[in-house]
């Protein structure tokens, strides 16, 4: 594999990073909504969000991308693969992050909410100033863990036809007939992105564990 091919892979890597960042940021915003809806205390809203989460957790990401990709076209929204995949990954992330954050909102001791209520704080302040700051801290290891899942998940965009790192690898591999070298390099690039995050997440988890003792 020459310099040319490696640069092509790096161009794909750029899109993998872009997809991951967009999906994580948009997914976080949507996921926060999902988490708040899931803990809203309004029965029907909670059931609906629980269903939303269950669908995304009970089906393959690949299918989610297919359905969003063809579903958007169907309702007349013309999008290129990049935008469609971003939407699909965002929805996927919103469900998973929503569930992670629901768990950490519920892990904040009840006394915190009660104390905030006793101080006559409204819902927004209660959440924004009291519950969420603690919940985010609790959720950090799991959130980072999901970010790693998401980065790996962007590889499925290649099956939908978007040229990110894995698809770039496929293309090169078909050109130079060295699949092991190419996919070895592709794997190494993913590893370089994910491993620091994994290590950082594990570090945070250990830190929280010892702090809570």
């Amino acid at each position: 594999m020459g310099r040319e091919e490696f640069l092509f892979l790096l161009a794909g890597l750029k899109w993998t990073v872009a997809l991951s960042v967009v999906a994580f940021i948009c997914g976080s915003v949507a996921g926060l909504m999902v988490a708040l809806a899931r803990t809203s205390g309004i029965f029907i809203v909670e059931r609906l969000t629980a269903g939303y989460i269950a669908v995304f957790q009970g089906t393959p990401l690949l299918m989610q991308l297919f359905v969003v990709y063809y579903g958007l076209a169907l309702i007349g929204i013309q999008m290129d693969a990049w935008a469609a995949v971003s939407v699909g990954l965002t929805l996927h992330a919103s469900a998973f992050l929503g569930e992670i954050w629901r768990g950490s909102i519920e892990a904040v001791p009840r006394g915190q909410t009660e104390a905030a209520k006793a101080l006559s704080l409204g819902y927004v302040s209660r959440m924004k100033d009291v519950v969420l700051p603690q919940a985010i801290r609790i959720s950090l290891p799991a959130t980072i863990g999901f970010l790693v899942q998401l980065i790996k998940g962007t590889s499925l965009a290649s099956i939908v036809g978007f040229t990110e790192l894995t698809r770039a690898g496929n293309i090169i591999s078909n050109q130079i007939f060295q699949p092991l070298t190419v996919f070895g390099v592709v794997g190494a690039l993913y590893f370089l992105m994910c491993c620091p995050l994994t290590i950082y997440g594990a570090h945070l988890e250990r830190k929280f564990l010892t702090a809570s003792r």
Partner: protein, 222 residues
């Protein structure tokens, strides 16, 4: 905008899709079994007194956990023939699923064994049981119970991951649905239906896991 949904190709393809569900189940179950074997073997090696062995296991786990399954399955798909092993896509997919699931299983099982207090081991030894007996009769069940939730959700994940095996045309639900889609161009209808299939599959597996757990782990804990 004047698109009308047409599920006829889906209905015509229904028998094929149902058979393909069986393929998905086969991939999932064989993958799980292989994952358990790799998981247990990995944990044993991980506790070996030989440092290089321990590092090998750690390296394997991190390598698998930090790269996409799609890349792993491509790599294995191309690597096996070079190693002189000629396999159909379906067994290849099972190997890839087992290796991937095995890496996660190692971490989960290790946590379970660690969750059992040292006192349990000692109480068994003090009663004159051998180490192997202590493990089999005393450690195993509580450890299984401790890891059961994470292990089963990992298995559900593995089941959903089987859809990626379509990338090497293994026989399972996604690849069959792709064939129906390319014949009929009813993409949304096909994928929507198949998504529902997957939802049912993962729900059924969840029920089975829960049923098993209520049978087998019914002893009370504090």
């Amino acid at each position: 905008m004047n698109y009308t949904l047409d599920f006829t190709p889906v209905i015509d393809g229904l028998p094929n899709l149902l058979w393909a569900c069986l393929g998905t189940f086969t991939l999932a179950i064989c993958g799980m079994l292989l994952a358990i074997v790799i998981g247990i073997g990995g944990v044993i090696l991980r506790q070996s007194p030989l440092k290089p062995l321990r590092w090998l296991v750690i390296g394997f786990v991190e390598l698998i956990r930090n790269t996409p399954f799609l890349v792993q399955i491509f790599f294995i798909y191309f690597a096996l023939p070079l190693a002189g092993i000629r396999l159909d896509p379906t067994p290849t997919a099972i190997i890839a699923l087992g290796i991937n699931g095995g890496a996660y299983a190692i971490e989960i099982i290790r946590g379970g064994v660690q969750s059992i207090s040292k006192g349990q081991m000692e109480a068994g030894l003090a009663l004159g049981l051998h180490k192997a007996q202590v493990f089999r009769l005393i450690i195993l069940k509580p450890a299984l119970r401790a890891i059961y939730p994470s292990l089963t959700s990992q298995f559900i994940l593995l089941t959903l991951t089987t859809s990626i095996a379509s990338a090497i045309s293994a026989y399972e639900l996604t690849s069959v649905s792709q064939r129906i889609e390319s014949d009929s161009f009813r993409s949304f209808e096909v994928y929507f239906t198949v998504t529902a299939f997957y939802l049912v599959i993962s729900w059924v597996m969840m029920r089975i896991f829960a049923l098993f757990s209520s049978r087998y782990f019914s002893y009370p804990v504090r």
